[in-house]
Amino acid sequence: MFGPRIVGDNGVELRPPVLEDYHLFRTWGMLPEVTRFWGPRFTNETPATAEERLKKDLENDNMVFWSIAYQGETVGLNGIFDINWTNRDGETGIFIGRHDLYGKGIASEAVRLRMAYAWKELGLRRTHNWIALANKGSWRANQKSGYSQIGTYPRSWFRSGEWFDEWLGEAFPRTFPADKLPSPWRDEEHPK
């Protein structure tokens, strides 16, 4: 399923993806600049299959999926995947496809909005993720919203002659910083 629109700070928002976003996702997945720690850089998707993929994601009750918009433009994707509704646990993932926008805090804000939704609306009680250890920007963005490291998976990625380990993390509602709760939840719990 697709997540609802959640407006954050600094021009960042999560919003339900549209078909044009799926074309962007596929294109970004082929770029060397953004795939150092993301996927094998090949695909079986074509422009013609994008709509089919969108429908499948929409009908999948075990995931919540968003596009990330920055200043109104789609720049990445964000989601909670493989949700186990008995354990109330899911795997989170984020991808910024616009490498020219790295370092602007977009991922941190998108993670904050996603985690608030997971705890306040979905009733999840745990999430987990895998991030390349060398991709500090990504796991730090997750740490800011309550993730902590639970282990290191050795030799997960081989890139340009060296092996990279993976940072394994988990988060709980109790680890989310209360003062970082975004609107609309912040307004309910911290009336001014």
Partner: protein, 195 residues
């Protein structure tokens, strides 16, 4: 394509699953002892659904399923994902289930050792991974004896029996196999050695 062939242990044999095995599979998936111990492979279902599942399993390119026998009886199943595109070639053991009526007879370790011999001695894989419930002591003991070590622990992951239990993530490296088992656990006598 992805139904396993024969792998012989000392007391157990992993073999190609048959339609006749499916009634036992369904019974195991409905058994609360197994459901508490770890992940099940599909929910219980009618025979026609199980036949369809076996057919789908056969089409899997990288996930292999075996039935496990002991003394001519079906006693369990094993299912592993083989190969890795971006990491070192390895196996990930997704299901390893022994019929609760056959527990505490040493079959689990015997079958697990044979399966790992297949991974390391036959397929030349570099490592094998598994996730276990932290309270599944018999499985953890088997893993430790084989040579697995913990590299991560998820907290309060699985809900069962009214409470959450942690999940232990383990890896066994090729070097451990070589050191601990390679001399005694060869499937074939090396060429040039007179038996």
């Amino acid at each position: 394509m992805a139904l396993g062939g024969i792998v012989k242990g000392k007391r157990t044999t992993l073999r190609t699953p048959l339609e006749d095995d499916l009634a036992s599979y369904s019974r195991w998936m409905a058994d609360m002892r197994l459901r508490h111990a770890g992940p099940i492979w599909h929910e219980p279902a009618m025979p026609a659904t199980w036949k369809e599942r076996l057919k789908e399993q056969a089409k899997e390119q990288r996930v292999v399923l075996w039935s496990i026998e002991a003394e001519g009886r079906l006693i369990g199943l094993a299912r592993a994902r083989l190969g890795s595109l971006e990491g070192p070639p390895g196996a990930h053991l997704q299901h390893f289930m022994i019929d609760p009526e056959e527990w505490r007879k040493g079959y689990g370790f015997d079958a697990a050792l044979a399966l790992h011999r297949y991974f390391f001695d036959y397929l030349d894989l570099q490592r094998c991974g598994i996730e276990l419930h932290a309270d599944n002591v018999p499985a953890l003991r088997i893993a430790e004896r084989l040579g697995y070590t913990e590299f991560a622990r998820g907290h309060e992951v699985h809900y069962r029996d009214g409470a959450y239990v942690d999940e232990v993530w383990l890896l066994m490296q090729r070097a451990t196999w070589d050191e601990r088992w390679a001399k005694s656990e060869r499937e074939y006598v090396p060429f040039g050695v007179v038996g």
